[in-house]
């Protein structure tokens, strides 16, 4: 028995040093089905040091996806208090509520189609690892269309939003619709490892949820393939322009549908500019 164990130890040792493993190929870029769009909800904040780099990685993912990925940045509670150098305060109650729902210890982090990670969390904490869940979501089938249209009244600063949803495949259970307003190209301070960047370009800053953060129910018993919901209409009045923020041409409307049967996972998303 003693010799047997010594042989086992030697064999294990030899196997450790003698293995020559063949490299695993880098998986090819995922080609999403035509029309498939997913959403990244980025948990960020002006006090969050690594968030400047995370924003660059997010932008790269969006560019690489060629329209299949849309996003907004959630400046909620954690590390979101304005810096002394900030002109703007990006925090708002909806962002705080959303951050509370998606909560994760630490920023940056991102919810990707609100799908659950292997640890049961809604968010992925490492920006360097966001591409993998993005790929996973992009590779899922395109089962519905979300179509946004808007009409902006320059005099009243009111935008009327219409959202249509039609199913390509059967969808079971309650379907909720989330509509959000965001704003890009806001030049303001952002902390970073090299200190505060005074003129950081903040993109897709979540301004307000037009619906609740979990969405308004639009189909209580699912949809059959080819079936559509009645057009959903919302309106939103953009606050007066102030010191370079609330600029309609920089603002976006995001809409997506979620499935309650899948713990709120996003099925399909869309994003347009208020003024195209």
């Amino acid at each position: 028995m003693k010799q047997f164990f010594i042989y086992i130890i030697i064999a294990i040792g030899l196997s450790f040093v003698s293995c020559e493993e063949i490299c695993t190929p880098i998986p090819p870029r995922v080609e999403a089905e035509a029309g498939r769009v997913i959403i990244i909800e980025e948990l960020t904040g002006v006090e969050c040091v690594p968030c400047a780099a995370a924003a660059a990685i997010l932008e790269d993912i969006i560019v690489q996806a060629d329209g299949a990925v849309v996003a907004y940045g959630v400046h909620g509670r954690f590390q979101s208090d304005p810096l002394p150098e900030n002109k703007y305060d990006f925090r708002n109650p909806d962002a705080a509520e959303l951050e509370g729902y998606l909560v994760e210890f630490g920023k940056p982090a991102a919810a990707i189609n609100r799908s659950e990670s292997s640890t049961g969390s809604f968010v992925w904490p490492t920006p360097g690892g966001w591409q993998a869940p993005v790929d996973a979501e992009l590779s899922k089938p395109h089962i519905a269309n979300v179509i946004i249209s808007s009409m902006y009244n320059n005099a009243t600063r009111r935008v009327d939003i219409e959202v249509d949803v039609n199913a390509i495949q059967d969808i079971e259970g309650v379907i909720n619709l989330v509509v959000a307003i965001s704003e890009s190209d806001l030049i303001d301070a952002q902390d970073s490892p090299d200190g505060v960047i005074p003129d950081f370009k903040h993109k897709h800053v979540l301004r307000e949820m037009v619906t609740t953060i979990l969405g308004d129910p639009v189909a209580s018993a699912g949809l059959s393939a080819g079936e559509a919901i009645d057009t959903k209409r919302y309106s939103y009045t953009i606050p007066a322009e102030n010191n370079g923020e609330w600029i309609p041409k920089n603002m976006e409307i995001t809409a997506f549908i979620t499935a309650e049967d899948r713990n709120g996972e996003v099925l399909q998303a869309a994003q347009i500019h208020i003024i195209e």
Binding site: G13, A56, V103, Q131
Partner: protein, 546 residues
């Protein structure tokens, strides 16, 4: 020692631990805006251990319960319950077979440590099997395989290891000469699941060619270690090597396709740790000198895991384990990617009454960036069995920018004198008073003192043996710092953080009830740390063994 009650040839042992919190919102200190304060209001976590031993069988099971608990994530609520751990072990002469959840470590834990640390919710037991064989009275070997536990499941990657450890006595009992060796060698293999490799592959797919690398599923780690004891001198040395593996290095820059650079990217590199500890004890003198060099030893069940999750490696901390509230306020977390550290601890007992201690530690990155430096002194005077007085001073430099990811803040400088007086009124009653003052440096850029500024801490403790203990303490922010809370007018508010505890011990049961108002801070155990947000509320604990 857990008592046991024999039942024929077998014995049952057990233990129960619970901690319950009532959260009372206090937005001024930052105890707000998380689910516990907003909606949950109450949280509890409990563990019940049961063990049975008979005829070489050792069976153990643990029930875990988390109900609206903030232990997993201080900013969130976690609720789940179930069997957190179990094992069955059978000893057959020289062979021991164990299956289930297994705690083990190789050497000092650098290439592998599976252990439990409840305050940090670390329980990374191996879920699998282990064979232990005694080759002789002095030599033992172990082989094990399994997956690392996480909460009520396991991570997908597999872990396999082998260890051989021995004891060699070269001394001469007749001459009273002690000379022993305790050598050991260990190997570990971690095989990633294909999904994890693909996920990393997805992340590096968009990298520029010069930053891309080949993906492999296997990582190997080796460790050689030995403890040499010669008379009053003991010397431990360990060298560990980890083969190249993929991990995220936040200090390396990623070049995006548009040419811009951002911090942090995946790399594939090998790692090493060298650790040694030399100690002497004799003639009232105790000296320990330690040194460590760490390079690229981020080693987890899955490289995509972060914070305290999935750690396979445990690298010894290189600073004193301080226990007073203010001397422990700034503790350095062990750095896994780049660290060079040194520590010396000298204790001398002048006579039965007087003892002195001095401890110094110095931690840098391999690039020479100062991380932590501490000088700690203590003088203890004991007068018969009537009273004891301890006092000393601590000087620290703490790289808050790196440890707490607070960019631009200067190296925190702290000076903390302290005193601790224990007076025994009679055989049953005793009284203790403890006080510390912490003075920190200036943050010239912010125009305030560093971090939260200066502190005063006072603690009064009254004990009635063997049952009762009453403790009242207050930590007062005596001088405003950059992070001192502000009121609605933007003025800094100097706050008290009081705490009241009552402890009751009955046989093997210990109860405590506390009212706590606590500033945010770092909680560490052996160099493994996490940031704890501010807390406001009540805490009840029960520790029981049977």
């Amino acid at each position: 020692m857990t008592p046991s009650y024999s039942q024929s040839q077998g014995s049952f042992t057990g233990g129960f631990q619970t901690s319950a919190n009532v959260f009372i919102r206090d937005s001024l200190i930052g105890a707000a805006n998380i689910p516990q304060y907003d909606t949950g209001l109450f949280g509890v976590q409990s563990w019940l251990d049961l063990g049975y031993n008979q005829n070489g069988f050792d069976i153990s099971v643990r029930f875990d319960m988390f109900n609206n608990s903030n232990l997993l994530n201080p900013n969130d609520s976690y609720t789940d319950e179930g069997i957190g751990r179990w094992h069955i072990e059978k000893r057959l002469d020289k062979l021991a077979i164990k299956v289930g959840h297994i705690y083990d470590q190789i050497g000092s834990g650098i290439i592998y440590r599976a252990y439990e640390e409840r305050p940090l919710l670390i329980d990374n037991a191996l879920y699998g099997g282990r064979l232990t064989y005694k080759l002789s009275d002095d030599w033992e070997t172990r082989v094990f395989a399994g997956r690392q536990r996480f909460l009520f499941g396991e991570y997908e990657p597999t872990v396999k290891g082998a260890v051989i450890e021995g004891y060699v006595d070269l001394g001469d009992p007749e001459k009273g000469r002690l000379f022993t060796l305790a050598p050991g060698a260990g190997m570990l293999n971690r095989t990633l699941n294909q999904e994890a490799v693909n996920d990393i592959g997805s992340s590096i797919r968009n990298y520029v060619d010069s930053q891309r690398f080949g993906l492999k599923r296997n990582t190997f780690a080796y460790s050689l270690y030995n403890t040499l004891t010669y008379g009053p001198v003991s010397w431990y040395a360990e060298a560990a090597y980890k083969s190249a593996e993929s991990f995220f290095n936040q200090f390396k820059q990623l070049q995006l396709p548009n040419g811009s650079l951002v911090d942090g990217r995946w790399v594939r590199e090998s790692g090493t740790v060298y650790y040694t500890s030399l100690s002497y004890a004799g003639n009232g003198l105790g000296v320990t000198v330690e040194g460590k060099r760490t390079e690229n030893f981020e080693f987890r069940a899955d490289p995509q895991l972060t914070l305290l999750r999935g750690l396979i490696t445990y690298i010894p901390a290189m600073n004193r384990n301080n226990t007073y509230r203010l001397t422990a306020r700034y503790s350095p977390a062990t750095q896994l990617l780049s660290e060079q550290a040194f520590q010396a601890d000298v204790k001398y007992r002048w006579n039965k009454k007087l003892t002195t201690l001095i401890n110094i530690s110095d931690i840098h990155t391999l690039d020479g960036i100062k991380l932590y430096r501490e000088l700690f002194t203590e003088v203890a005077y004991k007068y018969k069995r009537k009273w004891q007085l301890k006092g000393g001073i601590q000087f620290i430099e703490y790289n808050q920018e790196l440890y707490e990811i607070k960019p631009g803040v200067p190296l925190l400088e702290g000076t903390t004198p302290y005193v601790d007086f224990l007076y025994k009124i009679n055989r049953k009653k005793s009284f203790r008073v403890e006080s510390q003052l912490m003075f920190v440096g200036d943050d010239e850029k912010a125009g305030f003192k560093q971090d939260y500024g200066d502190w005063i801490f006072l603690l009064l403790e009254f004990n009635i043996a063997p049952h009762w203990s009453f403790v009242a303490s207050d930590m007062y922010n005596s001088s405003a710092g950059k992070n001192t809370p502000t009121d609605e007018n933007g003025e800094k508010v100097l706050l008290h953080y009081p705490r009241f505890d009552v402890y009751y011990t009955h046989k093997t049961n210990r109860f405590s009830l506390s009212y706590i108002k606590q500033v945010e801070g770092i909680v560490c155990s052996g160099g493994v740390c996490r940031l704890e947000p501010a807390f406001s509320g009540f805490n009840f604990t029960l520790n029981s063994s049977f």
